[in-house]
Every structure is written in C-alpha cells, then in structure tokens.
C-alpha cells in the first residue's frame, strides 16, 4: 500500500460535532486541488508538459488529471511556447472565453518574454496581451519546474479572497489590458 496524503483542514474553530472556518478558505482549498488546466502548447515547452502529464511526473496527483480543451470549463490557462504576433488575438480570445475565476501560467522563456525570438513576428511575452499569475523560467523548463509553478498557482488559489474578482483593483487591471 502506498501512503495516501490528504490535505490538512484549513485553520478554524473545532469543537465537539462542529468545525467552523471561513467560506473563502474552504472554497480555495477545494478549487486548488481541482484545477482544470487548458494547455495552450505551441512548441517545445508543450513537449515538456506532455512529459509532466505522463505517468512518471503524473500531473494528476494535484487534481489536474482532467485537461480541459474547452476554455469554457478551464480554470487555468497554461501558455507553453512561442506566441507569434499573428497568434496573439487567438490567445486573447481563448482567455476571454474562460469563465472567472481564471488563472494564467506562462511556461518557459518564450511565453514569459519572447525568449530567444527577439524579432518582429514574435510577441515579447504574453503579458503584453493578457494578465499572468505565474511565470515558469526555463528553455524549456523541466517538468519539475512546471510542477513547481503549478504549486505556486495552487497557493494563489488557496489564498484568494472570494471578493478579489469584484474589486476595483482587479477591474482596473483587466481594463489596462482592454478587457471589460
């Protein structure tokens, strides 16, 4: 038998027959272990992601067994690879089609900064068109790095306030990208 890990309960008040905590913490805990990623894989970082999904690294351990190839049901947009400027409206539309709450992870040097492709045809980082939560460095990053970045996303999800997406600050941030 393998050791089975179960996540710890969030901090709260416990007594005989009851347990009280805040709703944000419960929802964050549940969400962070059932993120459905949408892989937007355009090049070699996508190959590393395939290795991450494979049995050796087993991305499913973290509740992300189920990839969502429809943006409508996805929670996490994972952009892996070079994004040509001609591709940027497509990427933006995929982001717009995702429902809130949504997170974005830029995997690899190209998605984060354009990488070695410092040229007229390549977007110099996806954060020019959509907001990014976590950047994973590497060219391409090892599966361990992708898993580490995913852990960072999970921490963000766990600790996010339930009202963050309604805040003025968040709306201003979206507006700065031209997103209503």
């Amino acid at each position: 038998m393998s050791d089975i890990n179960i996540v710890d309960a969030p901090p709260g008040i416990e007594g005989s027959g009851f347990f009280a905590t805040s709703l944000d913490k419960v929802i964050g805990l549940a969400r962070s272990h059932s993120l459905w990623p949408l892989p937007f894989a355009t090049s070699c970082c996508g190959i590393e992601f395939m290795a991450t999904m494979g049995s050796h690294y087993d991305f499913g351990r973290f509740g992300s067994e189920r990839l969502s190839f429809s943006p409508r049901q996805a929670d996490l947009l994972m952009v892996m690879g070079t994004i040509a400027k001609k591709m940027s409206p497509v990427l933006k539309q995929v982001y717009l089609q995702m429902a809130e709450p949504r997170w974005v992870m830029a995997v690899g040097a190209c998605a984060s900064s354009g990488g070695i492709f410092d040229t007229y045809s390549v977007l110099q980082g996806i954060d020019e068109i959509i907001p990014v939560d976590v950047y994973v460095p590497g060219c391409p990053p090892r599966p361990e790095a992708i898993l580490d970045g995913f852990g960072k996303i999970q921490e963000l999800v766990k600790n996010e306030s339930g009202r963050r997406r309604d805040s003025d600050q968040y709306k201003q941030m979206l507006a700065s990208y031209g997103i209503e």
Binding site: G114, D118, Y120, Q124
Partner: protein, 166 residues
C-alpha cells in the same frame, strides 16, 4: 529524344531570347540565368512548355534585397523532374517600383509563393488574384525582409545595457 542538360538549355534560351538572357552561370552545377521583367513570363512559359527544356515544376519563388544597388531580385526555381535538372531564373527590379507580372497564369502553385514574396519583400505581382499577406499578421505595416529595418523588436526592454553593466 536528345539529352537535356545545362548547355542544351542555355543554347535553347539564347536562340529564343538572345540578349534578353544574361548572367548565365552554373554555381555548384545549378544553371542560373538573369532576364528582364518584360519577358519573364515568356521565359517561364518557354521553359515550362518547350520540348528540350521541360521545366514543368515550379519549386519556389522568392526574392533578395540588395540595398547597395537599390535592387530587389525576384528568383524563380524550376525543376525538370524527367531529366533531373534544375534552373534558377533571376529578375532584378528597382526597390522603389517593385512590381512584376504574376506567374499564376502558368502555375496555380505560384499563388502562395507570390503572396509570401509580397509579404516579406513588398513585391507587387501584377494580375495576382489575391495578393494579401500570408504569414505575417495583417496589421504589420512593413515588409520585414527588406534590409532597411532593425532586427530586434523595439518594445523589448530586458536587453538594455544597464542590466548587463555596460
């Protein structure tokens, strides 16, 4: 049928076009000729349809920018698959008036090749049915393979000298 080789093709072209064919050369065995814009379609049609030439396959159309001489060379690569020989035809046009007749009248495959050449070099192919950009984004307002543009994206800030102690 007589053998088709570089020298027989050179002879055919010289008989038919005379002084309109110039710069005959065979670098690495690849027959290369230059011609002019007014007869390029006649030359291509002749090479494609004449027995003894038989270059039925259009391999590629591209261009080269020569900023020093202010010329753009439009380059046609043809292939005779029966006799296993190739020919390269160059036409030098001025960079300020980059236009040339379309080869889509001879090969439908020239359609996308000419769109690509237009996209990257701004060469206008007169009579092309649908001359739009094919690879770059539509909003791009330059023809990026012309040599007057900087290579790097000016929006990029992470390569400034201060970050590297220069």
């Amino acid at each position: 049928m007589a053998e088709v080789n570089n020298s027989s093709v050179i002879q055919l072209l010289a008989d038919r076009f005379g002084a309109k064919i110039s710069g005959v050369n065979e670098p690495y065995g690849l027959l290369t000729v230059e011609t002019t814009k007014d007869v390029i379609i006649d030359v291509l049609k002749f090479l494609k349809e004449t027995e003894g030439a038989g270059f039925a396959f259009l391999t590629d159309i591209t261009a080269v920018h020569y900023p020093d001489t202010k010329h753009i060379a439009v380059v046609y690569h043809l292939h005779n698959m029966v006799n296993k020989i190739r020919i390269r035809v160059k036409v030098f046009i001025h960079e300020q008036t980059p236009s040339i007749p379309t080869a889509t009248v001879l090969w439908n495959g020239a359609n996308w090749m000419e769109r690509e050449t237009y996209d990257f070099f701004g060469v206008k192919f007169e009579g092309h049915p649908d001359l739009r950009r094919i690879l770059n984004m539509d909003e791009l307002n330059v023809h990026p393979m012309l040599k007057q543009y900087p290579l790097e994206d000016p929006n990029r800030v992470d390569k400034k000298d201060e970050y590297f102690g220069r």
